[in-house]
Amino acid sequence: MTSVLHPKSRKSSVKVELALWVMLLLAVSILVLTWFTLRQEREALTQEVTRRGMALAQYVAAHGQDPFLTNDKLTLATLVADVMKNEDMLYALIIDRNGRVVASDKSDLIGKAYTRPRGDYPLDRPAARAFTWTHPQAGRVIDIGIPLILQGTSKIGEVHLGVSKSTIDKVVRRAWKQVTLVAFLFLSGGLLGSIVLVTLMLRPISELTKGVEAIGGGNLEYQIPAMRNNELGELAITFNRMTLELKAATERALEQERIKKELQLAHQIQQSLLPKHTPQVEGFSFGALYRAAKEVGGDYYDFLWLDKHKLGIAVADVCGKGIPAAMLMSVARSMLKGMAHNFSSPAQVVKELNRLLHSDLKGGMFITVFYAVLDISKKTFTYASAGHNPAMLWNSTHQKFRLLGSEPPCLPVGVDKGTLFEKLLQEKKIALTAGDVVVLYTDGVTEAMNAEREEFGESGLQAFLKQHKSASQAGDLMRELDGQLTSFCGDVPQNDDIAAIILKVD
């Protein structure tokens, strides 16, 4: 969590970490390379010193043979002194076959027994050999030994030259020192350089980080400045594109949210236009159902009290669905309410509605309307249907169904300016008796579909009414019908708006 909350401290640590790793790698590389180089150098120098020592030893052996045989100590001393003139020559001595020193650069050793360095043995081959040992004072020494051979067969003595390795060590040490100094300077410079380089390289990342912080803060306008055409540059371009897409997506989401809210509002408005309660009338009971396929619908139902005894009942269906249908429905509702109070005849109300709406309706829009007036005291039901599904009457006396429609059918409201419409529109009146049930509905009820793509149909509605004819209240019947429609459709989404009214005579 800390690193997430403190991105800046994490960034600087990356910088230093990267620089240190680079330096460590460089330092190890330099050290390994130097070590190998100096080891080679040391070997080469050792070989050179050994070769030179051997040449000198052979020189002493060649020139010292005769003086050795004649016991010419002066010549032998001169030979030894000559050899000792060479730099790094620690000692030079000639011993006889008994191991006694015959000539030496140190005169006090002459005549004494030669003490071999530890690990050295008398020479038993005619060739020269080099043997490295550690001198208590002078350090590492290469002892070059060569036997003195008489007439090519018998060994009469040995020549030993001691060449110090300190010069080689000194050269190698100096080289180490120089390399270390150069490496230190180089690494220091490299460290600074790499910090600068890493800072420069990380700058685009810091720009990206700034961008992420800006977007995280809600600033979707933020665009990262143009960068070099490399991987980070590509990342910046992708990032900027992503920001633009994010902005567009956010705007789309906001727009959708706005539309959703408006639709919710429209839904609330439409709900408020529908009756809050069904009428409470002695001798009758009512049930009502409204379900829009979308947020708002083009179906409509209403109860309108015209006077104390007369109740206007309307069910209408605007062609299409959604917002255009809902808008037309709200206009038609206002007009119908106005007309219903001006004219007592249902046919007259529908005619007036058609006359008013026809001029406003364009593009083939129309409304099917079923409008009836129920006379409470006389128990009569007077109705007119303009292209609407016929209402269904369950005649309790005869125990059969009757469709209350228009024969011949009439056009819906809005398609004809008047003459034809008014000629076709009829008004009919029926008397209701106890137990009668009238169902007014829109095609959303009969065309409700199940998963097998079967429609509920008029037959479904009739079967339902037969099954529930004993129900005493229309409200209960409607709840049952709603449940039956829901279970019939199952998971199939509602395709059309549904509106229905049930009227039952007690």
Binding site: C319, G364, L411, D416, L420, L424, R453
Partner: protein, 122 residues
Amino acid sequence: MSTRKDGTIQVEVRYDEKRNITMVDITGVVDTGTTLILDEKLSALLREQRYKMILNMEKVTYVSSAGWGLFISLLHKTREHHGDIKLASMTNEVKNVFNLLAFSNLIYSYKSVDDAIDAFGR
């Protein structure tokens, strides 16, 4: 109970250039969704000034109110240009709604496409 097909539509257009009649073979359902597709095709025909149309409804299983609205609108537009639309070979389900809406008073319908062609010839 009646059944109806899935909510898809196919529209094919044939021309009888000699009689200047356009025949539109519709297959599927004409509901709120597919009406938009059909509207586009028919509007394109109107732009080509094809004002005499026969809609072959033989393979149409359902027409919603939005679909009927489209036909009424098309009727007005073609008649403005002395043309007409005629419906041919409606299935019983479609014909029932056509009758309920009393559209037989506005739109001429025929049992077959040939009858509709003959009617244009008269």
